[in-house]
Structures are given as structure tokens and as C-alpha cells.
Symmetry: D2
């Protein structure tokens, strides 16, 4: 199994505020028919922060049943505490996760110096039964992983990659250049998927791939075939939708777009909300623009 390609950070479906696991299975059935290389379960877009541990376990179980062995299953397992991160990482490993995605601890921002972050990731890597990927998402954590620090961490055999959602291509480029050969650098921001491929990213873990997996994959396919111009053009058509389902309307917008595209989206958990009618019209329009 090669760490590369396009993966959605899957959303977690709810009905009446409760886990809607059948809907999740249905989404997987559709996604599985595409060229998605795998899935990120319990990521930010999975509303992991709104799930209690019992719910997390259920989501992982259903995902494991639904994901074929030919596709990767990465599970978000990072917690604020090093010890809890290790515990939960091995729990999801035991449940069949292929890799764990470990977010930077971030609550005590002022204390999260490079050495503290280094020690945290090394401790997790040392104790984890599966390979881990670093999750850098400064827009949510307020913490950024500098390229030098990532490069140092990439030397550990059990730290196998990173999802960098900063959107900073200069940083992504440096991470790729400085880190160990074979270290898998995924971009986590769809509007820069094409330039990320240019600088050497192995793939993308992209919210918008929940909605339009084919088009997301197509950018990388075109790029791999050397069809640079076409890849760039498709990126330009994807970008407005990609922004709408992330920075602009958040997970409420993402789930609404999934509903419009034939998946089960549903409502996010409060305090998040489903956007109103005008956003629905805008999303319909953006989907139509992309499909034509």
C-alpha cells in the first residue's frame, strides 16, 4: 500500500443528533467505486472534536468494515496529552487502522515549543504499533510545524508522512525537500492541490473530495500524465467549490454540498449549523459549474 493519491477526510453523518452509521456505509459504497486511494477517518472534517470516545470507536468500526483492503484507512488519533494519544493510537491500530494521523497538541500554545512538539511526536511514534503521519493544521490549532522540525521527525522510521493543511506552498516545498526520502507529504488544502503536486506532494487529503472525488483525483491524474495545462485549468474550476466547503461555509457547507452531490451529508453537530437557502443555491451553482 503506497501512501499517495487523493483521500477525503470523511464527514461523520448524524441524524437527530445521533451517529447515522448506515448513511456512512452508503457513502463508502459510492466512494469505493472511485479512484480514491484511501480515507481519513476522525479528521477535523469528521467532527472528531464533537464525538465522544464511544462514538469514535463506532465510526472506526464501520469504516474498517466498509473500506476495502486495497484502500488505505488513516485514523485521526491525536489528543492533547501524549499518553492519551498513545493509548488511542494503539486502540485504532488494534481495530485495523493502517496509519494514524496525529495532530499537534495545541491548547497551551505558548508552551508548544519545537522541542516539546518533537518529544511528543517521537514518544507517540516509539509506542505506536502503526506508522504515524503528522497533522499540521494551523488554522484550527494556532500551531505551525516548521519544515526543519518536520525534517528531523521524518528521520524516525515510524513517522511516515505529514498532512500539511497550512496552504503554504513554500513551506510544503521545503518540507518535501528537507525530509527523508520516502516521507509522504500530503497537502490538506484543495485550492493549492495542483501547485502542491508541482513541488512534489504525493497526494491530497481534501475536504472537497468528499463531494467530488472524481474531479479531485483527475487533477492528479492529469498532472501525472504531464498534462500540466489541463490540471491547472481543472484546479481553477475546483477552487471555488473547495473554498466554499472549507473556509467559507465550514463543515455545514461541506455536508450540504455532499447532499447536493448524491452523498449523505446531513447536519453538523451544534454549535456548528447547516447554512441557509442562499448558500444551498450557491453550492448548486458551484457544483454545476464544475460538472459542465
Amino acid at each position: 500500500m503506497k501512501l499517495s493519491g487523493v483521500m477525503p477526510p470523511i464527514t461523520t453523518p448524524f441524524q437527530d443528533g445521533k451517529l447515522a452509521l448506515d448513511q456512512l456505509k452508503m457513502n463508502f459504497q459510492k466512494w469505493n467505486k472511485t479512484g480514491l486511494s484511501g480515507y481519513l477517518v476522525l479528521g477535523s472534517n469528521g467532527e472528531a472534536v464533537y464525538l465522544n470516545e464511544r462514538e469514535k470507536i463506532k465510526v472506526v468500526e464501520v469504516s474498517r468494515e466498509s473500506i476495502p483492503k486495497s484502500k488505505m484507512m488513516i485514523v485521526g488519533s491525536g489528543m492533547e496529552s501524549t499518553q492519551e494519544t498513545i493509548r488511542f493510537t494503539n486502540q485504532v491500530a488494534n481495530m485495523g487502522a493502517d496509519f494514524a494521523l496525529v495532530v499537534t497538541p495545541s491548547y497551551f500554545k505558548g508552551s508548544m515549543k519545537p522541542q516539546i512538539l518533537y518529544d511528543h511526536f517521537i514518544a507517540v511514534a516509539e509506542s505506536s504499533r502503526i506508522g504515524i503521519l503528522i497533522y499540521n493544521v494551523p488554522q484550527f490549532t494556532g500551531i505551525n510545524m516548521e519544515p526543519e522540525l518536520v525534517a528531523k521527525l521524518s528521520e524516525h522510521s515510524n513517522i511516515v508522512g505529514i498532512k500539511d493543511s497550512s496552504g503554504n506552498i513554500g513551506q510544503l516545498s521545503e518540507i518535501i525537500h528537507l525530509s527523508q526520502k520516502g516521507f509522504a507529504v500530503f497537502v490538506g488544502s484543495a485550492p493549492v492541490f495542483f501547485p502542491a503536486l508541482c513541488v512534489g506532494a504525493v497526494g491530497g487529503i481534501l475536504a472537497v473530495a468528499n463531494v467530488v472525488p472524481q474531479e479531485s483525483i483527475q487533477i492528479q491524474s492529469l498532472f501525472n500524465k504531464g498534462k500540466i495545462k489541463e490540471a491547472k485549468a481543472l484546479q481553477n474550476r475546483l477552487t471555488p467549490l473547495a473554498q466554499a466547503v472549507t473556509t467559507k461555509y465550514g463543515i455545514g457547507g461541506l455536508k450540504m454540498a455532499m447532499d447536493l452531490a448524491g452523498y449523505f451529508g446531513g447536519d453538523p453537530r451544534p454549535p456548528l449549523k447547516r447554512p441557509g437557502k442562499e448558500v444551498e443555491e450557491e453550492l448548486k451553482h458551484l457544483l454545476a459549474q464544475l460538472k459542465k
Copy 2:
């Protein structure tokens, strides 16, 4: 019981990485002999983000046993999800908490618009069996509660106050001026305790009060007696220590200072660390400066 005065956001003692509840009881015995008006349990400095729910329950139980009825027991009960916040708030209410401190949800920063935050706090207030205080701590959450929003929330009879740890006195002053009469505004940043009292704060929930409760209380006593000059002078002597145990050395520094002052501090949980020898010398010096 009047919401006012000085309270420490109590630290959570660990030994060999496990809860050290006997040490917590000992700390309470000492604190109870001072003029502290109450305690914040499971606050940021209580490393609540590093405790699982079972541990949180134990800390609340021991605190409830240790805190006399004459002193307030406020318990931090905020979670990212509205539903979980309500559940846990009522759980601590059932365990005897006098008030709950509810932090702003913050993971999806871009989505945390004023209306979303308003609805969250109102929903919690509506369902909570005890009065709630808003917890504004932008340095950890990346989210700030604007005075107008706080003022609107202060109209709800079950939203009884705020702990504002922003350190922004202009904002604190506006909150006090705009919010309903009787809304209890606590400052959560010791270096501005004295100016906060000047603009009308009812008290302080201050990390440094874990270490030197008497001196912290003394600032407010002097202020209340109209001894402005003496209050200001004591503030100036307290500030360096207050900064050392927060922004400068974090919870590791706070716990070390507690050890030096005769309380049980111990180590924070990883990824946090206890600082080295030089910091210990600096803290000793700062304590000596304050006491002389």
C-alpha cells in the same frame, strides 16, 4: 454566596503520571485557611485537556469534599460540542458544583461567528441546572468574546458572569459597563488584577493565587480600603511572579513555584514539562522578592 474575590484555578497534582488526590486534599487544607473566596476546578491550569472523563470526575469529587460550603466551587465544564457541554455541566452540577465555567468552543475558529457563540451559550444556559460563567481565553482558544456579545448574553438569568483572561483592560471595562447589573466580571490575568479592580472587576481567578494566595487577596483588600497606592505597589511586586507562572514558564513553572511555596505542585503531564534548575532559581528569587 457572592461571586467575587480571589480564586485560584487549581492545578491537578500527578505522581508517576497518575492523579495524586491526597496531594490535592493537602493543598486544599492550606488554601482553605486563607481568604480565598472559592476555587476553579478543571480550568486550563487544572490541565483539564489532559484528563479523561473518569479523572475529571475524581478531581471534582475530591474538590467537593475539600471545599467548605462557605467558599465557591466553580467547575470548568466546557466542551467543543454543545450537547456534551450540557451533559457534563449537569453532571458536575449533580456532584455539587456551585457554578460552571464554560469555555468558548474554538476548534473550527472560522465558523465561530458571534451568532454561533451566542446560541451555544444560550443553549447551555437554558439546560444547565446551575449558573454558568463564560470563559474567554483567546491566548488558548484563538477566539475572543466581544463586549457586545457578552453584554447580550448577560441578559440571560442563568449566565451569571465571565472570566476574561484576555488581559485587555479596555475590553474588560466595556464588558463591565455594557453588561447587566450584577453580572460578575472576573479578570483571569494576574498582571492586570489591580487595573481590573479599578475598572470594576469583582475579583480575579488567578493562576498565581495557587502559589501566593495571601498576596493576591491583599491587592483586592488594599483596593477595597481605598489604599490605591499600596495596592498598585503590591501589584508591581506580584507581576513578575505572575508572568513567570503563566506566559513565561506555563503550568510547569506554576507547579514548580507551588512546590517552592509549600504546596504540592509536581510535574505537569506530557507534552508539558517541568522546567530546569535555572528556572527554579529564578522562581525562588521571585518568591523571595515578593515576600520581603
Copy 3:
């Protein structure tokens, strides 16, 4: 002449885009009848960045003629280059300025390390024929002067004070505590004038004092008489207007409020603009609220 009290950073009047010096004289005639302790000429609110050197000279000349010897005349003389700052500082000294206000150089933000800033201010102080005040205004410069740096600079006999417009009362308090005795600390943010006096500021250089000098001065008078409660109440009434003429509507709003209060405000220079009718109504309302 004692560095203390309330001073307006005077606006520069324009008519048809040209300096309107007669209008400036008229403003001075009115201001001179109040208890203002002096004036800041060529400050941020004087649109110094929109004046060429010839115009600056004229404004200083007219100000010198209009300001009685009993009131201080501080002139903004800071430039990006150390050499030009020295040159212009001595030029305004020769024209009769009592003190010069020197803003932090800021264009190359990343290079403005503490030592660079220290050397700049010392070089200016060494060569200046008049005492200088440091001007800290991070909202415009993106640079903040840390208390330790200010304290070090306060040891120089020709660096006589600071105007700190950061609005950060904790910082102001530290600056006052750490700097040399007699170092004059002015606050440059009207919404925190009262708390600034509490922590020991000698006065305020306040945009809103262009509009309502009496009320601004009154806050300090009340404070000095120990009428803390009344000072605080007046501050609360002043704050909305003070915010409207700075952060909310900028210099366009400040000049409009001056027109409404019987001074000559006029239009700011483009790209700044005079706000529309609704803002005029709001400002009228705020003035009426303050006056009643």
C-alpha cells in the same frame, strides 16, 4: 513645563486638498481656552504621512505661533531612517518644538529587533537638541516596544517619555514600573485613559481630545481629586465617542466629529475619506450622549 495632562494629537485642516492654516489657527484659539496641557503636532492624527516636508514645516510654524508658552508643543519627527529622523528632529527643535515624538521605524518589520530599535532611539537622543518621547503605536506600525526595552531607553537623559497607543494596560503598567523615575508615560488610547491613570500614567495624548477637550481633561481632574467613581463613569460615557473617532471611523470620523463640535475638521486627504450621513448622525448622537 511638566510633561503631564491631556493633549490632542491635532488634526491638520485641509480645504480643496490644500493646507488650511487659518482654520488651524482658529482651532488653536478654542483649544487654548481649555485646560489642555499641550499639543502633539504632526502625529498620526495630523496625517503627517500625507504631508510633504514643506507642508510639515508650515504646520509647525503656525502651531508655534498659536501655542502659548504655558502649553507644551510636541512635534512628531520620526522617519524610517535614523539620519533623517535626526535631521528633522533638530529642524523642529530649531523651530521651537519643546519635545519631539519619535515613532518606531517599522517598514522592514522583520529586521526591527530590539537592539536595532535601541540603537535607533539612542542615536536620535544623542543628536537631538530637545528631549524625545518614544511613540509606540503597533496598530499602525506592526511593531511593539516591549517594557524592558523602554525601561533601558528611559535611562538616557534625553529620552524623557513615551506615548504608548497599544491600549495594553498591562504593558503600560510594566513600563511605568520598570522605567526611570520621572520618565513620562502617556497613554495614547482614550478608551483606557482612566485605567491608565490608575496604573500611574501622567496623562493622555488622545484623538478624542481634539473634539471634547473638556471632558477628556475632566477624567484626569476627577481622578486626581480621588473621585474614582466619577472618573470611571465619565470614562464610560467618553468611550463610545473615543472609539468612533479612532478604530471605528478613523480620521475621517474624527474630523467630522470636530465639525459637529464647533472646530474645523474638514476632509482628510485621500485615500482617506469623510464618512457618510449615517456616521454623521451616529456622531451627533454620541456627542449629545456625552454632553447631557
Copy 4:
């Protein structure tokens, strides 16, 4: 003359604090022998903020004499005031500038709303005798030009391009996609030169091109020939030097590197400083790494 290719924002040489125009001519003689498509005179790296107007005029004169008609001469002409910007833009136009680079006004950051910026650039474009390029450099100005605003401005026939130094490739990509056909988008940040070319930038205005013009140009040549891998590899070798002469050591570092590479660098003007010996060793090393 086509707006594209690699241009250095030329440094301004000083000796004993005075303009060293002969040294500037010598630099031009060397640069002219390379494939640089033109020059930016009086840019940020030209220390324009440290020059008085008389000095600026001299630098433009000498540049005009030194730059062959086959290469573009762009001159930085932006000021805070709209009126002064127009005046100086036409002055440099009269002196033979091919294009003017107009930086966003930025001092009153809070007031620089999109409409204000739009009106400013339109006013300058309307009155300018030469085509203008927008200069977006948020790291110095604290102001960012959003892609939608740039796109709207690109509709004006006299606004011919932009230098975007934000380093944000997602933004650059959107600007290219949304703006009018033929609008020339230059990247102003060398570490992302290669990805900028991928998303369609026409060239780069790069500080490091003062030092190593050949290597900078080579990245674009390789890219144009479809040698993507080689272009990327050269970018990776250029990046450490590019960072050293900008974010890391500023203009002092840039000028030092020029001295090491056979150009005249000299000292920057105070408050900037020439870095010490260790930086010189580091720069030597970085140059050697790039050349080998």
C-alpha cells in the same frame, strides 16, 4: 516590451552613508550582461523608505542611463497619499520609467478597506502617464490585496500587472485565474518562484536576483522548456540563499551576499545594519552550495 521574466529589485549602494552612484552603474554593467528582463528601481530592497526625494531622483536618473532600452525599467512610486503618488509617478514617467510599481497605502491599516484601496489605485491609474503595477507586500505593509479586488482593478487598461510578495501561492493562483487576460502577475518571493511559474506567473521580481541573476533566470528557462524536475531541483538549491537575503538577514544580508558575489553591496542605512562575520560565512557557504 513584454512584462515577464526575472528582474531584481535593485539595491541602492551607499558609501559613508551617501549614495554611491558609480557603484550602482558598475552593478548595472554586470547585470546587463545577463538575461534579466528588466529592473525594479526604488523598491523595498532599494531602501526607498530611507531615501529623500532628491536621492530618489538621482537613483532613477542613473538607472535610466544604465538600463538599455531592451530591458524594462519599473520604478517604485507609491506613497501614502494618493495625490503624492500621482505626482511622483508622473515624475518618474517623465524621467523615462517604463512602468510604475505602486505599493498599497498602509499606515492607517484599519481604514484601508477594499473600496479605499480600489479608489486609490484607480485614481493613480487614471492620472498616470505610464502603466502601473500593484505592489502587494503584506509582510511590510500589514495590508493584503485580495484576489477579487486585484481582479476588479485588472479591468483598468492602465493597471497592467501586480508584484505579489505575499508568498501565498493559493492567492497568486486565484489572482492569475480571476484577473483580465494579459494582466502580468509577478511573484515577489523567490522561495516560491517555481510553484508560481506552475500556476502561471509571468516572472519574478526577486531580491536574490541581485546576487545570482543567472540561477534565478535559469529556473524560468528550465520551466519554459518543460524541464519541470530540473527547475524544481534548482529552486530547492536557490531557496536557502533566497531566504537568507530576505526574511532571515534582511537587506543587510542581501548587500553582503552581493559583495560576496562580485557586485557592490555595501552597508544598508541605519537603523538597518550589516550582519556580522558568522552571517558572512553562512552566506559564502550558501553561495558555494548553489554554484557547485
